[in-house]
Symmetry: C2
DNA sequence: TAAACTATGTAGCCTAGGCTACAATTTGAC
DNA sequence: GTCAAATTGTAGCCTAGGCTACATAGTTTA
């Protein structure tokens, strides 16, 4: 029977959780685009769509959001590129993802499940918690 | 430089993460309604809205979704009630929330941050990972 | 090089989750 | 018992994130 937190506190948490969702997609896109640029030399909307399992139209719409957010640029029929800001975001996301996966595995979660769950969890991990994760991993190596 | 997972794998994870979001809200509502019913004897739309920091109109719309999902009932101007299914969901959510918070605290995350982060994280933790959390907590007590 | 195929882009629709504005109901104060 | 205030409900609008259908631009190939 959890007691209710103060109203304001809960409202603040709630709002933060909701808004995290709108940035989560952009983070995932930035990371994948960075990976594609590194691995394939280019990031095409069709590839991005296929990776995420969505229609190319959906991918293109999200790419537009990336552009509006100043994270990416795109030349028609030439693929998508990350801005400085986009690269920085992708890097942060990659580091965070690794840390979350490593932590889950350290706690005994099988690799497959760790990778899958990290995908959802990582967008909700604060800096403070991230630091605690890193500290914990260091302490037991 | 994470290597890319197989396309199908990534697409599946992605889809799961996205669909988790639509149930996350219902889970939060079910839990709060259960708490209000226990603590206050009734769960009014206005109280729910205030707790979550949204307008009452938004709360009412979400309550409609709960009803459509068979999780709640409501008598006009008489408050909201949980069905059996709704109660079961609220219980599961409460247990999971506690477990996630306890784990974060065990890892050295300050209580405030643990509570806040758990709010977002809990909706993405699979059964397998949950079991690993419980196991870890048992092993160090 | 023209035709066929693939990739890209656009338009329009849907649901979820927000909002404000307004209408109706209930409660409480006189 | 009536009137004012608070609560509840409804309507309509917005953005995000999906989709399908269609149009256009490149690329391949016969």
């Amino acid at each position: 029977m959890a007691k209710l937190p103060a109203e304001g506190t809960q409202a603040r948490r709630f709002g933060k959780t909701r808004s995290a969702q709108s940035t989560a997609l952009l983070e995932d896109y930035a990371e994948l685009i960075a990976d594609l640029l590194t691995g394939e030399g280019e990031a095409r909307p069709t590839d991005i769509a296929r990776r995420f399992g969505v229609s190319h139209a959906t991918a293109i719409k999200t790419i537009s959001r990336l552009k509006r957010a100043g994270l990416a640029t795109a030349r028609p029929y030439r693929g998508v590129f990350l801005t400085e800001k986009g690269h920085a975001l992708a890097d942060r996301v990659r580091v965070r993802h690794r840390l979350v996966v490593d932590l889950l595995r350290a706690l005994g979660v099988p690799t497959e499940a760790a990778e899958a769950d990290a995908e959802g969890i990582e967008h909700h991990v604060s800096e403070i918690t991230l630091k605690a994760f890193a500290q914990f991993l260091r302490s037991r190596s």
